[in-house]
């Protein structure tokens, strides 16, 4: 059943592999600088590595936009995105998987009444506009550098040819890595909150999280797309769409890879923070738009007239139509899934502000008279709850988000059977395991109550100060807590 649900994501991965791999290696293969076999092997390998190692960053942003919390819902979101990509490709319109999936998630949000996080949406849309512009900028700079080197360095033409081949392969590998890291979120991101993959610990050294297993699956789907279908697309890219010289191709592909990398690398984001610069948002961007941006950048720089404005118009139109079509398809198909097939497309989100929540919020400095008006009322719809908060309190948006976080009811029961079977022995410290044992048989209405109880029992559950050196530690700790919350969610319980 799980594989059937995942199949739509894997289909999306396949189409991403078939289409977007061509952006990375199309010019190299189309101009016969690199053989298709070489390109396909390198591309697949690095897409998978990128997805597994750095796939989490952009996935997190998609998760913030709307956390699709039921398997059937996630299936439909990915399927609608895949259908949109297929439709747009058939209508010969430029399409981006990123835009399709974002549209589909918003469709799910609308259907289920979940709130769409405007902050995340703004971040995503801004990045979509920024990424082609950035790609154009990088392409021009790289092109200038390469041209200088090429025209000034007395190296034999044939040796240049060999160097450029090598460079195209290296840049292609980097591009594939970035594509995997940035776009895996589109393929499999919606399944991350719902897929029941547990974490694996290999000898206490390598820890593969459940989501990394999903990323691996998605990466493999992309690879299959690369091997089975991308050859044709590469030939098209290399021959008919744009005739690029190998040096221009190198500049274009490298700038595309840099842009995708910038919007996917968590390490880079934390590096920017550490030197006091604002970090770039980690957002799945469209690989095609980055490529198109880079090419147009070079075209404008070279002063080439005859930029096809209708093509540009088509791309811009795709920006608007893709998310809308995907959203509409998702909305309609979710309706059928829920009312015809009686499948659960979303898990009910319940919010309740009771005394413990009010006290907890007070400890965080959030004190509002208005909490009394909504106290003990159950809200089954996040949008509704947020509206009530807006009407009854004068909280800022960030504070409202915090309140929603603390008021979300998600019962946790520390089940004895699950405790014995589902806790990877090497992943948790001795103290952490001991504190878990002490909570055996306990009930918690709110996830934060569970985390607080653990913290009270062992200092090993305490987050360290938010600084660069502790960032990895803190993330790891949050991952452990999230894993426990998912494992001990009351509906997973065996003894109840």
């Amino acid at each position: 059943m799980l594989l059937i649900y995942l199949s739509s994501g894997l289909l999306l991965g396949w189409s991403l592999g078939a289409n977007d791999a061509a952006n990375v290696f199309g010019t190299a293969v189309g101009t016969r600088m690199v053989r298709f076999r070489t390109a396909a092997i390198i591309c697949s390998l690095f897409v998978i590595i990128g997805a597994v190692i750095s796939g989490a960053g952009a996935t997190h942003t998609l998760g913030n936009l709307g956390s699709v919390n039921a398997m059937a819902g996630a299936f439909m979101v990915a399927l609608s995105a895949a259908v949109t990509v297929w439709l747009m490709t058939r209508w010969m319109l430029p399409v981006s998987t990123s835009q399709a999936i974002v549209g589909a998630i918003i469709g799910w949000n609308l259907f289920t009444g979940s709130r769409t996080d405007i902050g995340s949406l703004t971040k995503i849309v801004t990045t979509w506009i920024a990424s082609p512009i950035l790609a154009a900028f990088f392409a021009i700079v790289l092109f200038l550098i390469f041209r200088q080197i090429f025209n000034r360095t007395p190296i034999h033409l044939l040796r240049w040819d060999a160097y450029i081949r090598a460079a195209l392969i290296i840049v292609g590998a980097f591009g594939s890595y970035s594509l995997g890291a940035n776009n895996i979120a589109n393929v499999i991101g919606v399944f991350v909150p719902v897929a029941p993959f547990s974490d694996v610990d290999i000898g206490g050294i390598i820890h593969i999280s459940g989501s990394q297993k999903l990323f691996l699956l998605g990466g493999i789907a992309i690879s299959i797309g690369v091997f089975t279908y991308s050859h044709r697309v590469m030939q098209t890219v290399g021959h008919s769409l744009f005739k690029l010289s190998p040096i221009t191709a190198l500049a274009v592909v490298l700038s595309h890879a840099i842009v995708l990398f910038l919007f996917a690398s968590e390490k880079l984001a934390s590096l920017l923070i550490s030197i006091g610069l604002p970090p770039l948002p980690l957002v799945p961007v469209s690989s095609s738009q980055a490529i198109v941006g880079a090419i147009i950048g070079i075209a404008i720089f070279k002063g080439i007239r005859g930029i096809k404005y209708n093509v540009l118009g088509g791309i811009a139109l795709g920006w608007v139509t893709t998310p809308i079509i995907a959203g509409v398809i998702t909305f309609i198909s979710l309706f059928f899934l829920q009312n015809v097939f009686y499948l659960e497309v979303s898990r009910e989100m319940v919010y309740k502000v009771d005394q413990s929540v009010i006290e907890k919020l007070a400890s965080k400095g959030i004190i509002q008279e208005g909490f009394q008006d909504i106290k003990a009322r159950r809200f089954r719809n996040p949008t509704r709850f947020e509206m009530e908060l807006r009407n009854n309190t004068d909280l800022t948006q960030t504070e409202r988000r915090l309140v929603m976080n603390y008021a979300r009811v998600d019962s946790i029961y520390v089940d004895e059977f699950l405790l014995a079977t589902k806790i990877p022995p090497d992943w948790f410290t001795k103290d952490q395991k001991a504190s878990l044992q002490k909570l055996k048989g306990e009930h918690f209405a709110y996830p934060w109550e569970f985390a607080d109880s653990l913290r009270a029992l062992s200092p090993d559950w305490h987050l360290k100060p938010d600084s660069r050196e502790y960032r990895v530690f803190n993330r790891e700790l949050e991952m452990k807590l999230e894993y426990l919350q998912n494992t001990f969610r009351a509906d997973n319980s065996h003894s109840e």
Partner: protein, 214 residues
């Protein structure tokens, strides 16, 4: 990848050998014309043999290079241009060989008084050949230097034209048979044609260079 670099190295030296053959062909031609005009028959025949060998060598190398470029699909973007360049350079040594062999076949009775003009004309054509070989070498190794050689090719071609015209005026004012005048003039034309062919290669090379630098 190491295989790629190795085949590249072999090909590089083949291209160098090809260009050397053209350049040597020019030098042998100059010596050949000189020995013909000075009636050194034995040396002249040796030169003819030498130039035939060089022409054959250039032909073989050109074929090998073309085969290699296509089998390893090297420099896909410039392959056509490189093939064009090599074939046109081959025309230069072809013209050189034919001209010298014609001296042997037709044995023109060139008036001694214009020997100096013939030698001067030969010198200009050979210089044009030499410069086009330099330009071609730069096209492979140092693209920014191509233009430095190309304008010299054009200069020597013009010089060759000028000397050819001067030579013809002299010949047609001589008190000799019309047949001999025409025969001498044709040989002057043939020698000058070498520079013309070199100029043709220069024109193409100019375009190839522009294509490579944009």
């Amino acid at each position: 990848m190491p295989l790629l670099f190795k085949s590249t190295k072999i090909l590089e030296s083949q291209i160098d050998d090809f260009l050397d053959a053209i350049s040597q062909g020019g030098l042998v031609f100059k010596e050949g014309v000189k020995s013909y005009l000075e009636c050194e028959d034995e040396t002249f025949e040796r030169r003819i043999e030498a130039i035939k060998k060089l022409e054959n060598k250039a032909d073989d190398l050109r074929r090998q290079i073309e085969n290699q470029l296509y089998t390893h699909s090297l420099i896909p973007e410039h392959r056509g241009d490189v093939l064009g360049l090599l074939e046109n350079l081959d025309d230069v040594i072809d013209t050189i060989k034919k001209t010298l062999v014609n001296f042997s076949i037709e044995a023109p009775d060139i008036p001694v008084s214009i020997n100096r003009d013939f030698l001067e004309l030969t010198e200009m054509s050979v210089m044009a050949t030499d410069k086009i070989v330099n330009a071609a070498r730069a096209f492979f190794k140092d693209i920014s230097a191509v233009k430095d050689h190309l304008h010299k090719v054009l200069f020597y071609e013009k010089e060759a034209d000028r000397i050819e015209e001067r030579l013809n005026r002299k010949v047609f004012r001589m008190d000799i048979e019309l047949g001999l005048r025409l025969h001498t003039s044709r040989f002057a034309f043939n020698i000058s044609r070498i520079a013309d062919v070199a100029e043709g290669v220069a024109d193409r090379l100019n375009i190839y260079t522009i294509k490579r630098t944009v």
